[in-house]
């Protein structure tokens, strides 16, 4: 019996070839094992269980047609083939569309059903699939997905590679890197699931399950790979379904279902790999030799019975002698200034991926699952993979288009801020209505406008007209609010700089003053005691204990908490007491923000119990992304008000400060194209002809006017030259570079310019009314 085993890479993220060979050797001591590899850098070539080696040229060089034909000859001669590589299995399914009795890899139709992330094949198993979104979607939608999942998300490649991304900057960087490695833009973002990792491994031949085991990871490498584990029976309710699925898929070969079990015991499927895992010999140690079961099922030749040694296995690092005919190759020269010598994918798997993409693009299209919508369970986000159509261009509110239609751009000197008056009125009106609807006889809900997000007098005036309070972080901001028409008793004063500049503190009573530190509290209390500072409410800002913040009074140690409790006693007794917390929901994510809210209610309740001061005012908010605040906010806010009342029975007022949710949609930035370059190929490494086509364009706007470009996407409108209509730009190959002679002045990556646009045409960057506006700076203007 001769068995070819591929996938001999044995780095920190190893392929399974060596483990398969060890198990086959245990099951079939007399078999001839042939190690197959595509790089002499793969150290598994030197493993003693291989009787022969079949070393091929790397995938980027290999003649696929010739190689396929040689494999056919081998199989026809009676040899068996066990693949240790997903992509090799995929390619073999194309070479052998009808299969081959000796090819122990899954058929193409089955592989289509396990395409990540939807994994249609898993339907019926007692598990769920974490919510995901394809990077085919617009950046606007992807950013929303990340916020909804608290920036606890993974950006994953189509075959291998996954990176945790915690910010928009991370996401853009990793997307660029993965797209380049795997020659595809079709990546996906998937929600992280916290829990313990476990796998089910199966062995099957022509749709009959030969065996399966469950493995729980007990030690994990920094890359999250198995270092030790325990191997047990698969629960029958899982195994029974698996048997049905294997039959339905007509599966042949090994497979591993990688899962996470959360704290509630729910299993979440991360991947279905079409091969045995690298730890497979651990199962043999436990008494279940999966590769031997596969060969036994295929040949009918009984394998030596696996002997149980231990239910638990672990890895060690071994040095083995290098085979004399395979001397070690030298390390490649490091790139100048770089650290290390990249050895990832020495066999050239990315090249195989690229070649397969070109040869058989249809192979990579997952079979659409009915109702596939992002989580495989019918309650996702509607932006799924799996063949479901996704929107490349973001939706833009009608009010934007209506406001923009009022501008005559021939007369607009760009770059220029556009005030979207209709949109602004709508946003403030909606917020006022929401607050009114949430107010009860016991608790009044009042909006506050954060002046720092955009101190434009038109917005401050709208806030006043819609019953907002004015939230200021300096006395200059207080003055601005008063100039626009706010009374002092409509002003909330916050922040560490509330005494700056000296001499501008209003003499009249303010609505609320919140202290940012114990030192600030002492100063406030002293000023109030002298009658120099008056306010209906004096309170404290709490520093969020679990999310890093520089603001507020800390509560992260018993001593700090005790100091807070003691300090509150200094605040004037003839004013109401309040507590304030702010955290940018767009940074920490929506779920995290709401958890923080509930957490803060508990801190407030504790402060109330311990100080004897009733919490009558609660000031919450900060940094809401407009879509998160305006969408479905009614129900959630109503529940939040009820929860606040439950925890704080003395509460009289909730001040809601939505931050940029108010101002961000109200302004856009118009800029003109200065030049549009000819398309060129780039990123092809040594052979530029192989690179992808990109376009570069220069605009007269810059990051000086869009300082938030690195933190959030902006919806960009371009005018269709044929119809004159403004349309949101989809994802494309154009890089929009600003006018500044600064390397990092790129205002947008990967946009699709409307056909026919050129120098002089206007682009409008929406969603620029908050910190883009207030933090923009003068640069490069002489």
């Amino acid at each position: 019996m001769k068995i070819y085993v591929s996938g001999l890479y044995c780095g920190t993220n190893p392929q399974p070839g060596v483990g398969i060979a060890r198990s086959l050797r245990a099951g079939y001591p007399e078999a001839t094992l042939v190690g197959v590899e595509y790089s002499n850098r793969s150290s598994g070539l030197h493993w003693k269980d291989f009787d022969e080696l079949w070393l091929q040229r790397p995938w980027e060089e290999l003649s696929l047609e010739d190689y396929g034909s040689r494999i056919r000859d081998l199989l026809d001669s009676g040899a068996l083939w066990v693949s240790g590589s997903d992509l090799e299995s995929l390619w073999l399914s194309d070479v052998f569309p009808e299969g081959h009795p000796n090819l122990l890899t899954p058929p193409g139709a089955a592989l289509k059903q396990i395409t990540k992330p939807a994994v249609r094949a898993a339907e019926g198993l007692p598990l769920r699939i974490p919510t995901f979104i394809s990077t085919d979607c617009s950046d606007w939608e992807i950013h929303a997905f990340c916020r909804q999942h608290d920036w606890r998300v993974w950006l994953k490649g189509p075959y291998y590679d996954a990176s945790r991304v915690g910010s928009w900057g991370d996401f853009e960087y990793v997307r660029g890197a993965l797209s380049k490695v795997w020659a595809t833009e079709r990546l996906f973002v998937q929600a992280h699931v916290t829990g313990y990792e476990e796998s089910v491994v199966l062995s099957a031949y022509k749709g009959e399950l030969a065996g399966c085991v469950r493995m729980r990871k007990r030690e994990i490498t920094p890359e999250g790979k198995t270092w030790a584990g325990d191997v047990t029976e698969v629960p029958e309710e899982f195994a029974a379904k698996l048997r049905e699925i294997v039959r339905r898929l007509d599966w042949t070969g090994g497979a591993e279902l990688e899962m996470v079990r959360d704290a509630e015991g729910q299993l979440w499927l991360l991947e279905w790999n079409p091969r045995f895992p690298a730890w497979i010999h651990g199962a043999t140690i436990a008494g279940r030799n999966m590769p031997a079961l596969l060969v036994e099922a295929a040949t009918g030749v009984p394998a030596r019975e696996a002997r149980h040694v231990s239910e638990e296995f672990t890895r060690v690092v071994l040095e083995v002698p290098v085979r004399s005919q395979l001397p070690l190759p030298p390390l490649p020269e490091p790139f100048s200034g770089a650290v290390g010598h990249s050895l990832k994918h020495p066999s050239g798997l990315p090249a195989l991926a690229e070649r397969l993409h070109k040869l058989r693009p249809e192979m990579f299209k997952a079979e659409a699952a009915p109702g596939a919508n992002g989580n495989g369970n019918g309650n996702g986000n509607g932006k799924g993979h799996g063949g479901v159509k996704v929107s490349c261009a973001p939706a833009v509110p009608d009010s934007f288009l209506s406001d923009i239609s009022g501008y005559e751009f021939a007369e607009v000197a760009t770059p220029s801020w556009l005030f979207l008056g209709g949109t602004a009125a709508e946003v403030f009106g909606r917020a006022a209505k929401l607050a009114g609807g949430l107010s009860t006889a016991e608790v009044a809900v009042t909006n506050a406008y954060s002046i720092k997000t955009n101190p434009d007098a038109r917005l401050i005036k709208l806030a006043l007209e819609h019953g907002f309070l004015a939230e200021a972080i300096s006395l200059l901001e207080v003055q601005k609010a008063l100039e626009v028409g706010f009374r002092p008793d409509q002003v909330v004063l916050n922040g560490p700089g509330k005494w700056w500049p000296e001499g501008l503190m209003p003499k009249e009573e303010m609505h609320a003053v919140f202290c940012d530190s114990v030192a600030d509290l002492r100063r406030v209390a002293a000023a109030a005691g002298r009658g120099e500072l008056r306010s209906k409410t004096f309170g404290v800002r709490l520093r969020t204990p679990q999310i890093a913040s520089r603001f507020g009074i800390p509560v992260d140690s018993p001593d700090a908490f005790e100091a807070l409790v003691e300090a509150v006693a200094l605040l004037p007794r003839d004013s109401a007491f309040g507590i304030h917390f702010h955290m940018a929901s767009s940074n920490v994510g929506v779920g995290q923000w709401w958890h923080l809210y509930e957490s803060m209610l508990r801190w407030c309740r504790s402060v109330e119990r311990l100080t004897g001061r009733a919490v009558e005012t609660l000031d919450v908010g900060g940094g809401w992304f407009p879509d998160d605040w305006h969408t479905d906010s009614g129900e959630r806010f109503a529940a939040a008000v009820a929860s606040a009342r439950e925890h704080l029975p003395n509460l009289r007022q909730i001040i809601s400060e939505p931050g940029k949710a108010m101002s961000q949609p109200t302004m856009a930035l118009a800029m003109r194209l200065l030049e549009v370059d000819e398309p060129r190929r780039s990123g092809g490494g040594d052979d530029d002809e192989e690179g992808e086509e990109t376009l570069e364009a220069v605009v007269d706007g810059s990051i000086a006017e869009l300082p938030m470009h690195a933190f959030q996407p902006h919806r960009i409108l371009g005018r269709d030259p044929s119809t004159g209509e403004w349309r949101p730009l989809g994802r494309g190959k154009t890089r929009l570079m600003g006018r500044l002679c600064m390397e990092h002045d790129v205002v947008a990556w990967n946009v699709e310019l409307p056909e026919g646009v050129g120098a002089g045409d206007v682009l409008i960057f929406c969603d620029a009314g908050a910190y883009d506006r207030s933090m923009s700076y003068v640069f490069g203007r002489g």
């Binding site: 047990t232 704290a263 436990a286 149980h308 239910e311 679990q546 958890h595």
Partner: protein, 226 residues
């Protein structure tokens, strides 16, 4: 513990461990609890623990182990009795204090939690080391008997009568399958003051009757018999 060379190694000292002697020694040991001075000092500390726990949970399931407690308070000798205001300011806490805090935290989350006691096996080397450390801090080491130790954690009800056992010192869920050996759990007792005569909990394949020590059978591998 001695290991044979050149053959399959079986570490099977559980059978020789003096579990009966350990059960006898720790038969009447109550589970540890944190005391309250009845003053603001302990009230502040207690409120701080619960508010911190909720914040640390980060929106995760209440059945998530409160690993932050162990992260904040390394394991080490504690003097008893210990009050809330002292416990939260200690640089280290022993297993009893860590377990009591974890039990309080689970209970505050609304999870049904029971104090749990274990008898665990280590080695004479390990227990000797602990003895000298405890002695250097003038703290009694009655929790050590030869190579066995008395240890505490808590058990939480996951669903129905199924429990999970949290080792608050190690900050992990104790494996329901115990093979003996180093760090192996040989016996368990959980305290359920509301338990009736028929009350029993499932912990993996074990049936745990509350308030009495339960010696654990040595597990066999699922595929051992094949």
């Amino acid at each position: 513990m001695s290991l044979a060379v050149g053959k399959v190694i079986e570490i099977n000292e559980t059978d020789f461990a003096d579990v009966e002697g350990a059960l006898e020694r720790w038969q009447h040991w109550p589970a540890s609890t944190i005391s309250h001075h009845g003053e603001a000092c302990c009230s502040v500390a207690r409120e701080w623990v619960f508010a911190t726990d909720y914040a640390q949970l980060g929106g995760a399931s209440p059945l998530t182990g409160p690993r932050w407690v162990r992260h904040r308070y390394p394991w080490g000798p504690s003097r008893w009795p210990i009050h809330w205001c002292e416990a939260v300011r200690r640089k280290s806490l022993d297993c009893g204090a860590l377990a009591a805090l974890a039990h309080e935290v689970f209970t505050a989350r609304g999870v049904k939690s029971f104090p749990a006691q274990f008898i665990q096996q280590f080695t004479q080397d390990a227990t000797q080391d602990w003895r000298s450390r405890w002695a250097s801090e003038q703290t009694p080491a009655a929790w050590i008997k030869d190579d066995l130790i008395y240890h505490e954690g808590c058990a939480v009800v996951a669903a129905g009568d199924e429990i999970k056992v949290w080792d608050s010192t190690a900050a992990w869920w104790v494996n329901t399958k115990q093979f003996g050996g180093y760090h192996g759990v040989l016996a368990v007792r959980i305290f359920d003051p509301q338990a009736g005569p028929d009350t029993a909990y499932r912990w993996g394949t074990h049936t745990i009757t509350p308030n009495v020590w339960r010696k654990l059978e040595r597990a066999r591998g699922d595929f051992a018999g094949e």
